[in-house]
């Protein structure tokens, strides 16, 4: 069981290229079987089983396939991918190379968000060094694998973290999510089979090949295996990147980071849920409160309506505008929050807003729209006494 520690504990201890060497010594099917057996699930937040994704892409028949690393880390409160790319970039590229071997891809793209442009030079140097050492290029480490990675920059659009929007952006279009199916594993970048995985997922995959699926399964819970990086911010004594096994309780996390006495925790960023103190016994895991790792701690004096307003302003700004529930719904929810703040919202209208939020969850086209009302709905559910009947001036 990995210890509860600040920083990148497991990743920093990785032996360079151990996972890649192990992978190249085995047939592709065994590599995928190992990842599947580890029960590794996507670290970006959605939690799709990585082995299943790789298997689908491996099964697709096409002359060219793509490995895409999603480094468009835009979720509010998330910064662990930045730290991974700054401290252990080789591990991520190792994971991408293993994925290329597993699915039969020759080219990869690292899609780096525009806000992280200052990381680009150092990443280019890492790529150049890997090419020199024969870890990228033709015949990697004497194997038949040829694979190289290029860096592409985002341009400040949160929605491009959604995998089909990311692919649209790579192809030179507006970052508007596609209808699915077809899924990227069949028809992705340039209409060719593509896997899109989060930065941390690739690093985990490299660890799985190095240390084995059994080791990985030994950390975390039955359903949510492995160590997980959490980006902790807000009202606590020790904000930063922390590593915990999945399945830790929120109370346990708060005790470690010095956030005891919190009134609520936002788990999963703007698209996640607001968990009140009464539910701090719940676990952070795919079967509990799922998360890509964003933890924002709210101390006892924070105004939760202000928090809801901030998140809705974010979604109004970042909605791609393609589908009506998300584009219009978030604007109406924001207007509603401002009515609550000014003490002008009736009980009946609040019910309407909640119904609207549920419609948005059901009817929006992509994950952004479907999750955009989550924070609002959970704040209304848990903090109703605090947000209703406000007097002018807005404070509870």
């Amino acid at each position: 069981m990995s210890a509860v520690k600040k920083g990148l504990v497991t990743f920093a201890a990785a032996v360079p290229e151990e996972g890649l060497k192990a992978a190249l010594a085995r047939p592709r099917s065994e590599v995928i079987a190992e990842v599947t057996a580890s029960k590794l699930r996507g670290r970006g937040g959605a939690g799709f089983p990585t082995g299943v994704k790789w298997n689908l892409a491996a099964a697709a028949t096409a002359p060219a396939k793509w490995v895409v690393c999603n480094a468009d880390e835009g979720e509010p409160g998330t910064f662990k991918d930045r730290v991974i790319l700054a401290e252990v970039p080789d591990l991520v590229l190792e994971g991408m190379t293993i994925a290329a071997w597993a699915i039969g891809a020759a080219r990869g793209v690292l899609y780096l968000r525009g806000e992280y442009a200052y990381l680009r030079d150092s990443l280019e140097k890492v790529l150049a060094r890997r090419r020199e050492k024969g870890l990228l290029g033709t015949g990697i480490l004497g194997s038949p694998l040829s694979f190289d990675v290029e860096i592409r920059m985002g341009s400040g659009a949160y929605v491009c973290g959604e995998e089909t929007a990311l692919i649209e952006s790579l192809e030179g279009h507006r970052g508007e999510p596609r209808n699915r199916p077809p899924f990227p594993v069949d028809c992705g970048y340039r209409s060719e089979p593509t896997i899109v995985n989060n930065v941390e997922t690739f690093a985990c995959a490299a660890m799985v090949l190095a240390k084995g699926a059994e080791w990985f399964r030994g950390i975390g819970t039955e359903v949510s295996t492995g160590p997980k990086l959490f980006s902790v911010s807000g009202d606590c004594r020790e904000p930063g990147v922390w590593e915990f096994p999945l399945g830790i309780t929120i109370a346990g996390l708060l005790a470690a980071v010095g956030g005891e006495g919190a009134k609520a925790v936002q788990v999963g960023g703007a698209s996640g849920r607001c968990v009140p103190a009464s539910e701090f016994g719940r676990t952070l895991a795919f079967e509990g409160v799922p998360t890509g790792g964003s933890i924002i701690v709210f101390g006892p004096r924070r105004d939760m309506l202000h928090v809801a307003e901030n998140f809705l302003e974010f979604f109004v700004d970042e909605s791609c505008g393609q589908c009506t529930p998300c584009r219009e719904g978030n604007a109406k929810l924001l207007e509603g929050v401002r009515m609550l703040r000014e003490g002008r919202c009736s009980w009946a209208y609040l019910q309407e807003l909640q119904k609207l939020g549920e419609v948005m969850q059901l009817a929006s086209k992509c994950g952004l729209g479907q999750s955009s009302p989550n924070a609002f709905l959970s704040i209304v559910e848990h903090f109703r006494p605090e947000i209703m009947g406000r007097t002018a001036g807005g404070n509870a």
């Binding site: 409160g77 998330t78 806000e115 807000g234």
Partner: protein
């Protein structure tokens, strides 16, 4: 636009298209190069890119208008983007914002008349544990306070260090 400026833009775009390839997938990298060197993507630039990539200029405009780091209207040499997301909000981004407006004499969304500074909001810069955070062009600054705002602006004005290189108007590649 002066004829000489047009010619230079024409040559620059030609070089960038040659570098990234004359395909639709090259559109955003080419636009990013224009933005970085010219601080704006003018209608003339959009038409030029459209011709080179053999797409309609409206397609180019559609992409420019979608991404917040691509801008059709001219921005300052130094674009200051302050994070407004919740963690930076809790560490006092409003006071930093006020001081930036006071010291630059502009509001968010505006550019100073000398063309040196633009002030914009950004959504989560991924510095949530070290807020308030802001970007000046490509560089990130954390734990900014109202008192340090002046120092940051002065550093830009004096144009020393790596900041100066990135903001130069019309810099050739």
């Amino acid at each position: 636009m002066l004829v000489t400026e047009r010619l230079r833009l024409h040559d620059d775009i030609g070089a960038w298209v040659a570098k990234h390839g004359a395909t639709r997938a090259a559109l955003i990298p080419v636009l990013q190069e224009i933005q970085r060197s010219y601080n704006e993507i003018s209608e003339y630039a959009m038409q030029e890119v459209a011709d080179r990539l053999d797409i309609h200029p409206v397609e180019v405009y559609s992409v420019v208008s979608f991404y917040s780091f691509l801008e059709a209207k001219a921005r300052g040499r130094f674009v200051i983007r302050l994070c407004r997301t919740v963690s930076c909000d809790m560490t006092g981004k409003d006071r930093v914002a006020r001081q930036l407006e006071n010291d630059l004499g502009i509001r968010f969304g505006e550019t100073t008349r000398d063309g040196n500074f633009s002030l914009e909001w950004a959504n989560c810069l991924g510095m949530c544990d070290q807020g308030p955070a802001l970007l000046i062009n490509d560089q990130v600054f954390t734990s900014v306070t109202p008192e340090t705002v002046h120092d940051l602006i002065q550093a830009c004005r004096k144009s020393f260090g790596p900041l100066a290189v990135q903001g130069q108007k019309g810099r050739t590649h």
